[in-house]
């Protein structure tokens, strides 16, 4: 049995090896190599999770240098859960991408995705603030390359837009880290947590880090790049962006905030983030209601869902932490399933309008089942991961006497219901005349369903992720 620390390295290395190999092999081998790499990484990630859940937090000093000089990797319950999420959700999206994109894109998609996977895993495991920056940048660059994989105008437009909004975000983050290093002479998150004190440098650093990451995630009012980018990118890429890549920056923010900043900052700043989150919930949901493009509805829903995630900051308790991580995970599965389903619809009828779903419930039952289940999780109706997350957050908001966040959560889910059922209900109408439904591969139908079932499963056995999350939770 391999040691837990080695497993962490494998979980990062395997996708990288896969990416390189798949670039080398010819057209025929790409799928095979990527498949093998995916399965291997999944196994490695699961083993990490297993180790974490049985043995507690895993640490590894890269190259033998300890902090502060060297770089540390650390896998606590949160990291392990994220590894698992990426390892399950990502491959399912890429399965869908195989038949959705063209042949050439196919060859480029898989290596790029494996590369991003590697970067994301590294990001999740990093316990070093600068290393987090690097992995974040790698993810961004990989994501931009994926967005433009089709090399068409909308894709290029979206890719550039993404890049040019992500760059200032990363730079703000980097500047903040620089200040922190200047003040406390360490980049290790754990050591920062011990050394950090309230003071102007910390404030500015925290402000820069927060704003930068909020721009990347993105939080209202910095969300404006999201809808056009998500709409312009190829659908599988949008799914990856929404489900996993945007979670990367949020993960960094969550880590730093909960472990480093929250103890030394005024609670009011947390309220500010919460307030912006609340506005995002309202804003995203209402705009989702007014969209006519299917994909934009789902994109604006992401704006709203990200808003929920920021409700963790005003509460900043372990319960809220668990709730928000749960939200991240179940949103990853649910939103991926929604986007992939949208891709299927587009592929089948070639209509991007909301009305395009008419009559499809009977033609593409799996896709619509997936959409329904995913939507349920977004709304937060049981049984779904979204419900568990909402439940935990609600409990926390009442428990910390901040009942106004409960109102946001409850009102937000009603709005979510409004836009989710706006999509679903049309599908029960009879098929309009003149529309032909192309059949799509079974794999494409099953991928969203599998994703949605994960969201469902998260709502049925919440004790497993919650137990895992509790490992290494500081507070």
């Amino acid at each position: 049995m391999m040691g837990g620390t080695a497993l962490m390295a494998w979980s990062v290395a395997l996708p990288l090896i896969g990416a390189v190999l798949s670039l080398l092999v010819g057209r025929a081998g790409v799928r095979l190599v990527a498949g093998v790499a995916s399965v291997a990484t999944l196994i490695a990630s699961s083993l990490v999770a297993w180790e974490v859940s049985t043995q507690g937090v895993l640490r590894q000093q890269l190259g033998g240098w300890g902090a502060p000089l060297g770089i540390e990797w650390r896998a606590d319950g949160l990291a392990a859960l994220m590894l698992l999420t990426i390892a399950v959700v990502g491959p399912l999206i890429s399965v869908h991408a195989l038949d959705h994109l063209g042949d050439r894109e196919d060859r480029e998609f898989l290596p790029l995705w494996l590369f991003i996977w590697c970067a994301l895993n590294a990001l999740v495991l990093s316990a070093d603030a600068f290393n987090l920056y690097v992995t974040l940048e790698l993810t961004t660059l990989g994501a931009v390359s994926l967005i433009v994989v089709r090399r068409d105008l909308p894709g290029l437009d979206a890719g550039l837009r993404y890049l040019l909004f992500a760059l200032p975000g990363s730079l703000c983050y980097l500047l903040g880290i620089a200040f922190l290093y200047g003040a406390y002479a360490t980049l290790d998150v754990g050591m920062l947590a011990q050394r950090v004190q309230s003071g102007p440098v910390t404030w500015v650093a925290a402000g820069l880090v927060t704003v930068g990451l909020c721009l990347k995630t993105p939080l209202f009012p910095l969300h404006v790049w999201l809808p056009p980018t998500y709409t312009g990118a190829p659908t599988p890429v949008t799914a990856l962006l929404s489900a996993l890549i945007s979670k990367g920056s949020f993960y960094v923010l969550l880590r730093l905030w909960l472990e480093v900043f929250a103890p030394v900052l005024d609670a009011e700043v947390g309220q500010l983030l919460g307030l912006l989150g609340a506005v995002a919930v309202l804003w995203g949901s209402v705009l989702a209601l007014s969209q006519t493009q299917l994909k934009r509805v789902v994109a604006y829903s992401s704006v709203a869902q990200i808003g929920y995630m920021f409700l963790v900051f005003p509460m900043a308790t372990s319960g809220a932490r668990a709730g928000v991580i749960y939200l991240v995970v179940s949103h990853a599965a649910a939103k991926a399933s929604m986007f992939v389903a949208v891709g299927n619809i587009h592929q089948a009828v070639g209509i991007t309008e909301l009305g395009g779903v008419q009559g499809l419930a009977y033609r593409m039952p799996f896709t619509f089942l997936a959409m329904a289940l995913g939507g349920i999780s977004l709304i937060g109706i049981p049984p779904s991961g979204g419900f568990i997350a909402k439940w935990l957050l609600l409990n926390e908001s009442i428990g910390t006497q901040q009942w106004w966040w409960a109102l946001v959560l409850l009102g937000g889910s009603l709005l979510a219901a409004a836009y989710v059922f706006r999509i679903l209900r049309g599908s029960f109408l009879p098929l309009p005349p003149g529309v032909t439904v192309r059949s799509i591969p079974l794999g494409n139908e099953l991928a969203p369903l599998a994703l949605a079932l994960i969201a469902l499963l998260l709502g049925l056995v919440p004790w497993f992720p919650l137990d895992l999350l509790a490992v290494g939770a500081s507070r």
Binding site: I379, P382, W391, L394, I398, A406, A417, F428, V461
Partner: protein, 494 residues
């Protein structure tokens, strides 16, 4: 061993077939029907075993880990069995009815899949051993009934579905708020006889707020005025769905929940002490009268029945919100009685629509000659609704009336009796014109030998007989009334 698995098996006996049915192709009619009936019969048997066990004092509980602090608990106590038995029996007949009713229409796999899910949710609601579990299944019910409401796929059905969702999801939100509030107070809310909140009884404000939230949330499904708007609109659904919605699943789930909240979460003494019982009783009384008056004004048969449900289900709420044993028995027993009678009425309405394409009250003239058995069933159920002995509704009314006096609220008797008169006002004209008036034009004679297909006729007659039997043999030990007395004795035992 059996004691832990039985509640779960009851749940799974409709959940699993439901999931399998989704996967069946539209043409696999025989397989689907066999599966449906098999599941229904299995559930009946399991329920019977469990009912017998509970009657003997055995405990049945399935506990599944869910949250670190809160398990999913399925527990069969006497009250849940009352509801389960009702659902299991009525599901069985409704399945038969639905097989007949939907013969030759589209999307039957989907229909029966959701149909089973709907019943599974109802089972879950009945068996829930704590508030969280209850809420989970309550929401599942909302979701599994929506596709049934919009089953026809017409714009009108979709609109009804919208209204349905708007109401039920808003209600669920309120309910969730209440549930969370209670959980944050106590950490865990197990359903316990005589209440689970004794330890936090001093938090009066929170408890009252939570109570209002819970009742408002549940009141949507229960169709308490002014939260009843969805019910008449949801009438566009096919007849078996309406039957299920009104008699077993949705409306009943709400009433069942309110009862649980009052008796097993707060405890009747605490609710009384908090002073929230009287307002609830007043709301119920208003609903009773409002529903009856509105029913008078409906020309559409199903709409009239829907408003009648609004009124009748409030009887249950009235019963449980009057402080006293007798009214509680009346309320609980009406849960069963109303179910059996109302399902009969909807079956009849479905039969009329299916066989003669009659939807409006005014078109029912002389239908008794053409469809005597259906009209007979309708008559029995309608008279029962009015509260004429020996049909089940009489027993409910008897207990409710006495209970109102026991609770020193004579005005409730006036409400009850006025409502009876109004019930008579909207049911008896139908009965009269069906039997004693000549049809406008002669109906086409049946081509089948019976007045309508046996799959539609038998369930109708069966439930009519049940409504008669439930009243006529109310004194029997295992009658709904006997069972309810057992439950209530346990709740009020000092």
């Amino acid at each position: 061993m059996m004691n832990t698995w039985l509640p779960l098996s009851v749940l799974l006996s409709s959940l699993l077939p439901g999931l399998i049915i989704f996967l069946l192709a539209e043409e696999q009619r025989r397989t689907r029907t066999v599966l449906n009936l098999l599941a229904a019969v299995t559930k009946l048997l399991l329920t019977a075993v469990m009912a017998w066990g509970v009657f003997q004092g055995r405990q049945y509980e399935t506990r599944l880990p869910f949250f670190p602090k809160a398990d999913l608990v399925l527990r069969a106590d006497s009250f849940s069995l009352l509801f389960i038995t009702l659902s299991a029996v009525l599901w069985f007949v409704t399945t038969i009815y639905a097989v007949g009713y939907l013969e030759g229409t589209d999307h039957r796999s989907r229909f029966f899949g959701f149909f089973s899910l709907c019943v599974a949710s109802t089972m879950g609601i009945a068996l829930a051993g704590n508030l969280l579990t209850f809420f989970l299944f309550y929401e599942m019910l909302t979701l599994s009934t929506y596709p049934l409401v919009i089953h026809r796929g017409t714009p009108e059905a979709l609109r009804a579905g919208n209204v349905y969702l708007r109401y039920t999801l808003s209600g669920a939100t309120l309910l969730l708020a209440g549930v969370v509030l209670l959980y944050s107070l106590t950490g865990s809310v197990e359903f316990t006889e005589r209440g689970a909140l004794g330890a936090v009884a001093s938090h009066r404000t929170e408890l009252v707020v939570a109570f209002v939230l819970l009742i408002a949330g549940l009141g949507v499904k229960t169709a308490l005025v002014p939260l009843h708007g969805w019910l008449p609109v949801a009438m566009v659904a096919p007849a078996p769905v309406s039957a299920l919605l009104h008699a077993v699943a949705v409306v009943k789930a709400g009433a069942f929940g309110i009862t649980r909240i009052i008796y097993d979460v707060y405890g009747v003494y605490l609710v009384h002490d908090l002073g929230v019982m009287q307002p609830l009783a007043i709301v119920a009384a208003i609903t009773i009268l409002y529903g009856s008056v509105r029913a008078l004004q409906q020309g559409d048969l199903k709409k009239r029945l829907a408003y009648s449900t609004v009124s009748q289900v409030a009887y249950i709420v009235l019963g449980v919100s009057l402080f006293g044993t007798v009214s509680t028995i009346g309320g609980l027993v009406h849960l069963v009685h109303q179910g059996v009678m109302k399902i009969t009425l909807f079956f009849c309405a479905g039969n009329f629509a299916e066989e003669l394409h009659v939807h409006r009250v005014s078109e029912l003239r002389g239908v008794g000659r053409r469809m005597p058995l259906t009209t007979g069933a309708f008559t029995i159920a309608a008279l029962g609704m009015i509260g004429i002995p020996p049909i089940a509704g009489f027993i409910s009314k008897w207990y409710l009336g006495i209970g109102a006096l026991e609770a020193h609220q004579p005005w409730m008797v006036v409400v009850l009796l006025t409502s009876s008169l109004l019930n008579a006002g909207y049911f008896l004209p139908i009965v009269y014109s069906a039997w004693f008036q000549a049809p406008r034009e002669e109906w086409k004679p049946s081509t089948r030998g019976w007045e309508i297909g046996l799959l539609l006729l038998l369930p109708t007659v069966a439930t009519a007989v049940l409504s008669l039997a439930a009243g006529l043999f109310a004194g029997a030990e295992l009658s709904p009334l006997g069972w309810t007395r057992l439950i209530t004795e346990r709740e009020f035992r000092p």
